[in-house]
Amino acid sequence: MTLSASARWALRAVMAAGLVFIYVPLLLVLVNSFNGDRTFAWPPRDLTTRWWSAAWENEGARQALLTSVQAGLAATAIALVLGTMIAFAVQRFEFFGRDTVSLLVVLPIALPGIVTGIALDSAWRSVMGDLGIGKGLFSVVVGHATFCVVTVYNNVLARLRRTGVNLEEASADLGASGFQTFRYVTFPLIRSALLAGGLLAFALSFDEIIVTTFTAGPGVTTLPIWIFNNLFRPNQAPIVNVVAAVLIVLSVVPVWLAQRIAGPSSGVLRGSTDA
């Protein structure tokens, strides 16, 4: 479609305005973490790094970070195993109810988080509670893994669709056992899809607050919960500012990694463009 010069300029202006809209709030948090004034008067008058050292010393924030990493790693590990298994089943087999299975995988992310949260909460109370298993880090991992499966599933499924079965059949024809074929042919083929899916799963878990609120046992505080608990306490604001700034800076890491692993479009919204 040949666009007139003015149409091009209009689109360019919308794009620029959109990027400003997206980035200004994030920059504000970064600048504010150096704001020396306790009331965060705007514009900041004196800049300081003392909040950064104060945040580093903060025991609550550190503990919360540790909990978040633990929950994220455990949920990602489960999601990697389950997501890959479903992807293989759906892509390599024909069976009754195949569409239902793929819908089931998407459901935890398609339904509002609060529904998943309270469903797991009420089930835990009425089923696991009776078995004597209280809520704790484990229930958080169960909740996170449930909605993380889809990211691995979509990435691996897209990869399996693209690679086909020729290489695996060749491997079997050349006398490799099922295990050898998986180890030397299939796994290397899906490795980068696993990384992209796992990365996305970890990020989803690391950032999750709604399901976490409902599934966390007493004393289990992930980083988002810690931020939320301290958000409305004025004297904690400087530390919250620093933690927020750190999370913004860290968000560059997974994007950079995904770029390195599989090119620009990998992992975009659960790898849908990978297909």
Partner: protein
């Protein structure tokens, strides 16, 4: 090991069962089971005197939701917020995605620029807006408003979910070959006609795919409302209040059925357009 491998090779159904058993056990037991318990408990009640859950079938919760004006208003307000957020996101995202996919020379850089903030924490972004919208804060001193409230909630939710709308639209437009646009122009179509007949059929399923995210994420949100919404109450807040302070899990479950029902209707409605494949 080898004999097991060849046995499995000769029995594909067994391999399939092996692949599916663990994940389905997890998703059906942990997730569908939980949803089923939720649905069932929506029909229970709480003894107002002892505060204990009465496990007997009753439609009392649903009657309350339908008849009491408070809950009707909260449901309609949440629906209104979700629709507004979806429309705002679509209006901003369509020209941006079109520029990224069809005009710009720096496609990849722009995709990264849109993608990166998606990884920044949800709470951090809501918090940034709390600072921006504060009384005497940047927005207040430049525009004199809007302050905390339902307008701020819609603004911040649109901000949060905008990338979820841009990316599917971009992916859809990216797949539309430029040669089709040129062919349309060569056949004498003006920009408007090309947009209607060539771009729009690709655009609609992508926008609907994006809207599933913006709609569902907005419907269930209660955190952003607490951070920038002032006194605004949405469905999520009512659910949260009934689980926490009021300790009425059955009623919370009943009112949580409202967003589920809305989402199911929505998913069924958009399914025919092929939007689900665009997710």
């Amino acid at each position: 090991m080898t004999s097991l491998g060849s046995y499995l090779h000769r029995h594909p159904r067994l391999r399939l069962a092996g692949l599916l058993s663990a994940p389905l056990l997890w998703l059906v037991v942990a997730y569908l089971g939980a949803l089923a318990v939720l649905l069932v408990s929506a029909f229970w009640t709480v003894n107002g005197f002892t505060g204990e859950v009465v496990r007997e079938f009753s439609l009392a919760n649903f009657r309350t939701i339908l008849t009491e004006e408070v809950y009707r208003n909260v449901s309609l307000r949440s629906l209104g917020v979700a629709v507004s957020v979806t429309v705002i996101c679509a209006v901003i995202a369509i020209p941006m995605a079109f520029y990224m996919a069809k005009v710009s020379k720096y496609k990849n850089a722009l995709v990264i620029a849109i993608l990166t903030p998606l990884w920044a924490s949800y709470l951090v972004k809501a918090y940034a807006w709390r600072i921006l919208l504060a009384n005497g804060g940047p927005m207040d001193s430049i525009f004199g408003g809007p302050g905390y409230g339902i307008g701020a909630t819609i603004l911040v939710l649109s901000y949060l979910w905008l990338p979820y709308m841009i990316l599917p639209i971009y992916a859809g437009l990216e797949r539309l070959p430029d040669s089709l646009l040129e062919a349309s122009a060569d056949l004498g179509a003006r920009a408007g006609r090309t947009f209607r007949s060539v771009v729009l059929p690709v655009l609609i399923p992508s926008v609907l795919a994006g809207s599933i995210f913006t709609f569902s994420l907005s419907l269930g949100d209660y955190i952003t409302v607490q951070i920038v919404g002032g006194k605004t109450q949405l469905i999520g807040n009512v659910v949260y209040a009934n689980i926490g302070a009021a300790n009425n899990l059955p009623f919370a479950a009943a009112i949580a059925c409202v967003p589920v029902l809305i989402m199911v209707i929505y998913l069924v409605a958009v399914r025919r357009s092929g939007a689900l494949e665009e997710l």
